[in-house]
């Protein structure tokens, strides 16, 4: 059995770690490239959202490299993500790829089926071993996500351009070549030390921008035209509202015992959206409110074209923008997205944020005299 899985940011490191610990062989899909997207677009339904197309490309490229089992997480609606596995199964079947798809989703009472699926891919029936591997993998992912978050905030201040990128690139390369949590954690802690040593030159007037929206496009830089780096290059500190490790702890730990770690976010969005409506629409609203309260200069919403939940939040955001006095830019992404066009829009948006800050400063100065 050779297991493969879709890419989402650096999540593949965590998943690799999990299966390393369990002693299961994995095929990491090749890095998302133009070709991945082309394969996905060619076979997927025309109007389906981008994550399905990219992940389909991942699977096909992995199958070409010998994978025979696909492991993904699932959900039960109302967002389309819950039916991804079914659509992709049909497509792969029509293409003549004989692979098995194992979908891990909330058991909904059918616990034997869930355990059957877990045992199928985990090479062991020992629940302690599975839990331990999962815990270790979650730790790796958490530390890795912490590095990424730090990088997005510190990169605009680096003295020598490219220092952070170099450390991060090397880290990912090392992680892909290491096996198991122990080795990976040593690498990650090493990278933390490197990062502390990177010379910084603090820019006092750096803008702060939050990225909200659909989780896949927020996390996967190949899908969001690498917006984090682009903003960093313009001297903007970036805060992403989603990370894979947070999603993992929220869904595997908190939700399963009926709790949520996102109380604050939900409360912040309550005046605008009474209930959860699927996807991360409510979180998008909540994060926007919280970011404005934390004094951010702006919020960028990224979403795939035709994303149902985010379209709802997109139509509510103008109200949030008005009430909380924070400019919001919505970027809709599909397979035709041209990078240059987006860059122009983001640049214009950042100029607007700068001007706002300047005029605020001027107002203060004028009122003092």
């Amino acid at each position: 059995m050779k297991i493969t899985f879709p890419h989402m940011g650096s999540t593949h490191i965590g998943i690799k770690c999990l299966f390393d610990e369990l002693g299961v062989e994995t095929v990491i899909p090749p890095k998302i490239s133009k070709k991945t997207l082309e394969i996905g677009t060619k076979y997927a339904p025309e109007l389906i959202c981008l994550p399905l197309k990219i992940t389909l490309g991942n699977y096909i490229e992995s199958i070409e490299r010998g994978a025979d089992t696909i492991v993904v997480t699932g959900s039960c609606g109302p967002c389309r993500y819950g039916y991804y596995s079914e659509v992709q199964k049909e497509i792969l079947k029509d293409l003549g790829h004989d692979v098995e798809m194992v979908v891990l989703e909330a058991p909904h009472g059918n616990i034997p089926e869930f355990l059957k699926r877990v045992h199928k891919i985990s090479n062991t029936k020992n629940p302690l071993k599975i839990a331990k591997s999962l815990k270790n993998a979650a730790k790796v992912l958490k530390r890795l996500n912490e590095i990424e978050a730090q990088m997005l905030q510190l990169r605009p201040h680096e003295m020598n351009k490219g220092d952070f990128d170099q450390v991060y690139k090397q880290l990912i390369k090392n992680l892909e070549n290491s096996c198991g949590a122990k080795e990976m954690l040593i690498n990650i802690e090493g990278a933390f030390k490197h990062i502390i040593g990177i010379p910084l030159k603090r820019k006092e007037d750096a803008l702060k921008v939050g990225i909200v929206g659909e989780i896949y496009t927020v996390i996967e830089d190949a899908a969001n035209v690498d917006i984090g780096k682009k903003l960093n290059d313009m001297g903007v500190e970036v805060y992403k509202s989603h990370s894979a490790s947070e999603w993992l702890t929220e869904n595997i730990f908190y939700r399963s015992i009926g709790l949520t770690s996102e109380q604050k976010i939900e409360e912040a969005s309550d005046p605008y959206m009474k209930t959860l409506i699927g996807g991360h629409a409510k979180e998008t609203i909540g994060h926007t409110v919280l970011y404005s309260e934390r004094g951010f200069d702006g919020v960028i919403q990224v979403l795939p074209f035709t994303c149902m939940p985010e379209i709802v939040s997109m139509s509510i955001l103008p109200r949030v923008q008005q009430d909380h006095n924070i400019p919001v830019l919505s970027l809709i992404i599909d397979e035709l997205t041209g990078e240059a066009g987006y860059l122009t829009r983001v640049e214009a948006y950042i100029d607007l944020l700068r001007n706002r800050r300047e005029s605020k400063k001027d107002e203060k100065m004028l009122s003092r005299h």
Partner: protein, 330 residues
Amino acid sequence: MDIKIGIPRGLLYYYYFPLWNKFFETLGAEVVVSQPTNKKIIENGVKNTVDEACLPVKVYHGHVMDLKDRVDFLFVPKLMSIYKNEYICPKFCGLPEMVSSSVKDLPPLIDTVINFRKSRKKLFKAVYEIGSHVTKNVSEIEHAYSEGITNYHNYRALMKQGILPIDMNKDHFQKRKVISVNQQKVVLLGHPYNLYDPLLSMNIVEKLRAKDVMVITPEMMDTATINRYANQMDKKMFWSFGRKIMGTAFYAMEDPTISGMIYLSSFGCGLDSVIADIAERRVRRSSKKPFTVLTLDEHTGEAGIDTRIEAFVDMIRWREKNENNFSSHG
């Protein structure tokens, strides 16, 4: 003076109108329905909604605009789920919020949450919340609801006999055409708000009937049949209307009297992108029936759709005539 309650003629209007109309009328309120969809309504809707929304949602906004200045309350329920463990669509879940953010100067909304995902226990609580805008009398609300439900069941029973909402306005029973011997049966798939709105669907039902084609829609299907066929999927289809469409499509694949399927979808509809693709793949894989998808948006030209309908009907007729008559000499 009676309280005026506005019901926009969009989305699930064509499914649930008889229920709520009767309900509010029995309670003594005046029900005002927006005009049938027209150019102006579409235009207003398109102007007041985010570009990315699908056409039915945009049109719904147009209907809200049409009503908002002439009613005391607007009935825009937050329909999350109508069956256990099923949903409708994220846009329905967030509809009242979308409407109140996009349209200005609205009368108060009746935006009760209707969510039966876990159980129907809270059904009456929701009904009471809706009715309490008119009266606080519980037994009156109970009575009105049971009247409404009876009316709804009658309506659904008519639909199952093949009498569609467009037939109900006119003297349908006389006008209904006698079924001729070689009439073709075509299954028309899609969401009720696309199929039964005459302007959005560009009168596709009438156009097919005019070509002597009998039209079958998911709403005419027997519930048990739909459930049986929809269960062919490995994973339960969690969209209620999606499940109906899927079950109907799988049924049509097997029923030998059905000659083809037309899927009427709206551009940007998330459900259609999934359901139409799965249905199409299955139809192509295991049946020889023609299947076509017509996608509608606010720019769709009627002539283009007409041509495609004509071509489709011609195709199924030629198949009927020539399929078995190929010359063995080429």
